[in-house]
């Protein structure tokens, strides 16, 4: 009985082996580029949908799905989305991009979620001549990959200085402490921008402490910082660590303002940190509380569909698809990748939920950020 079970198992595994090898060769051949008009445009999405960062990919998917339904309902242009999971892993991102380009024959790409993934997968799209747009890849140098690489994610270099400047003016900051997640590329990039912005504003950095993603204990860093009595604390990290930092800081009696990078800009921050999030400052193009019809409608629709407030990952993805739709409309083809790229590059005066938008000559977004502060459990504009 035991023997036969083991034999059966081996047989099954060998079967899988044969199937996989067969499947590899016998995959559907990609259809040749058809030029027929009026068909729906196929866009590929590479997102972090399983594993530790799946929360981000999930928000992005939700934002995209919402935008897709709207665009298709309008009927001017039809869009098909093909999702691929990148697991936050460079190799998987490369495979996903390759599959979308060469097997699914997509006309353009959205994603990947992480800047690191973009550095790995972006060159593939660029080589193949397929436009790719990051919606959350804020790191330095992303669009330097090549002229097919776009992003509508506001790089830290635009947002962070605004927040720092405003905070310095408002609270008359002289000396601050900085904390960042040192194993997260995106947070490190944010930290570097932050450091430069502080120097530009003549603020002294009295302590620089690091932690890692998924850390849960910040007592040592914060005790040290508390003893130095800074005027404010700057934090560059994802929302979970940021929220835990805020909580611990308030617990041990640090009451000064906290200024954060993009990671602060999430409803989850307030959800996790609760009362401790009060007074946290962040600059963001995305501000759900803004008096704007478009934003209100988006927030309401999103709430109706997913029963939660959209975060910036959702908002920026939502905008990204609308930008693509506008470009597709302009290019007049649902399959021509080069044309799509060229028309994307000329997008100007686009009104999205994250504000007025245009690409600069390096395919980075030109947009304004609003400096927000958490007040009574809500992001409100810091004036």
């Amino acid at each position: 009985m035991k023997k036969s079970l083991s034999k059966w198992f081996t047989g099954m595994m060998i079967g899988t082996l044969l199937l996989t090898t067969a499947g590899c060769g016998g995959g559907a051949a990609p259809a040749a580029n058809s030029n027929s008009q009026g068909e729906s445009a196929k866009l590929g999405v590479v997102a972090y949908m399983s594993g530790g960062g799946a929360a981000y990919g999930q928000s992005q998917k939700e934002g995209l799905d919402l935008a897709k339904d709207e665009i298709n309902a309008q009927g001017k242009i039809k869009i098909d989305l093909v999702y691929e999971d990148s697991r936050g892993n460079n190799t998987d991102a490369i495979n996903a991009v390759n599959k979308l380009i060469n097997k699914d024959n997509v006309v353009g790409l959205i994603g990947p979620t992480l800047s690191g993934e973009m550095f790995a997968a972006g060159p593939i799209a660029n080589q193949s001549g397929v436009p790719i747009m990051g919606t959350s890849t804020t790191a330095e140098g992303v669009t330097d990959i090549g002229e097919f690489v776009f992003r509508n994610a506001l790089p830290e270099s635009s947002a962070v200085p605004q927040a720092v400047k405003k905070a310095v003016e408002k609270y008359n900051l002289k000396k601050v402490a900085v904390m960042y997640s040192s194993n997260n590329d995106w947070a490190v990039s944010g930290y570097k921008t932050m450091e430069k912005a502080l120097q530009d504003n003549g603020v002294e950095i009295i302590a620089t402490e690091t932690f890692a993603d998924k850390d849960t204990d910040f007592s040592a860093q914060l005790t040290k910082i508390a003893s130095l009595k800074p005027d404010a604390v700057m934090v560059s990290s994802l929302y979970q660590e940021a929220a835990l930092v805020l909580k611990k800081a308030r617990e041990i009696g640090i009451t000064v303002p906290f200024v954060g990078t993009n990671g602060f800009n999430s409803p989850e921050l307030i959800k996790i940190a609760g009362q401790a999030a009060e007074g946290a400052i962040v600059a963001s193009p995305w501000y759900p509380g803004k008096e704007n019809e478009k934003i209100k409608k988006f927030v309401a629709d999103y709430k109706a569909k997913y029963n939660k407030t959209p975060d910036q990952f959702a908002a920026q993805s939502y905008d990204a698809l609308h930008i693509y739709a506008a470009a597709l409309e302009k290019s007049g083809s649902t399959t021509d990748r080069q044309k799509l790229r060229d028309s994307l590059a000329t997008i100007k005066d686009f009104e999205g939920v994250t504000g007025k938008f245009a690409f600069d000559d390096k395919r980075n977004p030109l947009m304004d950020a609003t400096v927000l502060i958490v007040k009574d459990g809500q992001f409100t504009e810091l004036k």
Binding site: M13, T21, A29, G51, N95, K99, N102, F119, P123
Partner: protein, 314 residues
């Protein structure tokens, strides 16, 4: 032909080969019965050394990759002396710890650019493409696009690497050194009593494994345009381990088959991506319960030899 030359399949084939090389690296250390979970660490040493040399110092790739491998094996010898006194689980955990320490050091060094990693690494494909156009084939060869040609060339390069490794290992297995490895794996103290300097051969296997992992690291840097510390963390270690576990580590073909299966499986399971890792985990448990020696063991080969041999006679 189009199907085979589809860049998606070419790319997957390239990753299969890269992973197969990693599989060989863990196979080599396992050849003396030592489980090293430090291969991701050695891979990262190789990858960073090579990337830094090629990106910052402008060394050609064909020099950068072997130097990366040598750097990894050099480090392996330094930590191998104390580490190889440990056996079994202890060695596994110590090497796992080594990988983590390497990761933290990489995060903190300036030259590795911390968490931001090194981007814009020239790819093997691009280099080959350049060489091709220098040879007068700017638009590819024989009706293929330049990209297809260079990818195909990369594939050939990797295939050559892997073939050499297989050749190396089979030659090794049938030599004095290979027999010493096998003897140590079977019974370390009996091997020592038979006149084998076990420390030397264990260290040799360890260093060879690190060398190959380092070379694989260098290759991977030039295949993925970008490397960051996250690429060589715990998950990578487990991934490399599963190649050997699934395929079997008795014979060199085992980890290679394991790498093939485990690189293809995620692509096939793309539609079931949420369940992909759950299936992975369950598979590991089932393997240990039903076939701890892996899919391909010496018995399997013997069985098929006998069966085919009989078939031939009939």
């Amino acid at each position: 032909m189009d199907v085979i030359l589809n860049q998606y399949y070419l790319q997957i084939a390239i990753f299969v080969l890269l992973n197969a090389i990693l599989g060989v690296s863990i196979y080599l250390t396992l050849a003396t019965g030592q489980l090293s979970l430090g291969n991701a660490g050695f891979m990262s040493i190789g990858a960073y050394t090579c990337a830094i040399l090629t990106v910052k110092a402008g060394l050609p790739i064909y020099l950068g990759i072997p130097i990366g491998g040598i750097a990894a094996s050099f480090i392996s010898i330094i930590i191998g002396f104390p580490a190889l006194r440990l056996t079994g689980i202890y060695l596994a955990i110590a090497t796992l710890g080594f990988g983590e320490v390497v990761r933290v050091i990489v995060l903190n060094l300036k030259v590795t650019n911390g968490a931001l990693g090194i981007s814009g690494i020239p790819t093997l494909g691009a280099k080959i493409g350049k060489a091709l156009s220098a040879l007068g084939f700017p638009h590819g060869v024989g009706g293929l696009t330049a990209q297809q040609t260079s990818n195909l060339m990369v594939l050939v390069v990797l295939l050559l690497c892997l073939s050499f490794l297989i050749f190396f290992c089979t030659r090794l297995n049938r030599s004095r050194v290979g027999r010493a490895f096998a003897a140590i794996k079977a019974d370390e103290s009996a091997a020592e009593a038979m006149g084998i300097n076990t420390t030397y051969y264990k260290l040799l296997a360890f260093a060879l494994g690190a060398l190959i992992a380092g070379i694989a690291g260098g290759l991977s840097a030039h295949l993925t345009f970008f490397i960051g510390p996250k690429d060589f963390a715990y998950n990578r270690t487990v991934e490399i381990l599963t190649f050997a576990v699934l395929g079997g580590s008795d014979l060199i073909i085992g980890p290679i088959v394991g790498a093939l299966l485990l690189t293809l499986l995620p692509e096939l399971l793309r539609s079931a991506s949420e369940y992909r890792l759950m299936i992975y985990g369950a598979l590991m448990v089932a393997m240990m319960a039903f076939r701890p020696q892996g899919l391909i063991s010496e018995e399997t080969v013997r069985f098929w030899k006998r069966k085919l041999g009989r078939g031939m006679k009939q």
